[in-house]
Amino acid sequence: MRISSSISFQARVLSALLALCVLSGCASVKFIADYDEQIDTGTTALQKDFETFLVKLESSAKSDDGKVEGYGSNKPFYSAAKVSISGLRLRADAVERNSLTVRMFDKLRKNLDRMEKMHSSTEGLTPREIRESLRGAFNAQFTAILTLELAKKRGEKPDETKAAAAPSQINPE
């Protein structure tokens, strides 16, 4: 009984794969866009810019619970970062089957807007908020974008060491 059901299951799987094979002309299937070096290097550079900015803000406060340097003098960073994200998003969107990467850049942009809202409010920002919330979240987003982009290279074995110690926990201090 078990053997016949196993055969039946295998036959069904084979039928499905045969149908897929016929539909695709027995060529390889592709669900996601290819690796794009410019997305990789652009995102890596943007992460560095964000980190440099966060470190600068943290060091501008007189104490851990004090306020960081005001929004006004840091507005150029937000403008430049928006342009960079927009450029990367545009490039990702120009490629077929790349909607996941496009959506990830949209989410990065939303969080940049949220940080700007926090920074420009009367409450300001503290180094502790940067250290315990903002940095980790931004790094999780950059890690996500880069992890998927590098996986698009295909054929390379996943790096379990990297996966086990994702860089979003790294604190430069």
Partner: protein
């Protein structure tokens, strides 16, 4: 021309299983690691609010911030899974292509 359907089916399933077995552990570790850090950051937000460092409105904004980042991670996991399925299907397709081409003794597929 004779094709052993059972043998081909087993080969296809084995090829697909091999890909999943190789790829899934890394994705799982990435997901687990990010989940843990997401939870830690939420706990930090609660602590900052409890200590009076941030207002309730600010705490909500931080939670939205973390949720957005978490959703970005989930999109990456979704992409990694799609790549894994793609690779598994291609491994299975290769088995049937090789079997058919070997059987007919020319490149048919």
């Amino acid at each position: 021309m004779s094709l052993n359907v059972e043998e081909i089916a087993s080969g296809m399933i084995g090829a697909a299983k091999g890909v999943v077995g190789e790829r899934w552990p890394a994705t799982q570790k990435y997901f687990e690691s990010e989940s843990r850090m997401f939870a830690e950051r939420l706990a930090s937000i609660a602590a900052m609010h409890a200590e009076g460092l941030i207002s309730e409105g600010r705490a909500r904004l931080h939670v939205e911030f973390q949720t957005e980042a978490w959703e970005t991670t989930l999109l990456a996991v979704q992409g990694l899974n799609q790549l894994m399925i793609e690779e598994a299907l291609n491994a299975a397709i290769k088995v049937i292509r090789d079997a058919v081409n070997t059987s007919v003794k020319f490149v048919l597929l």
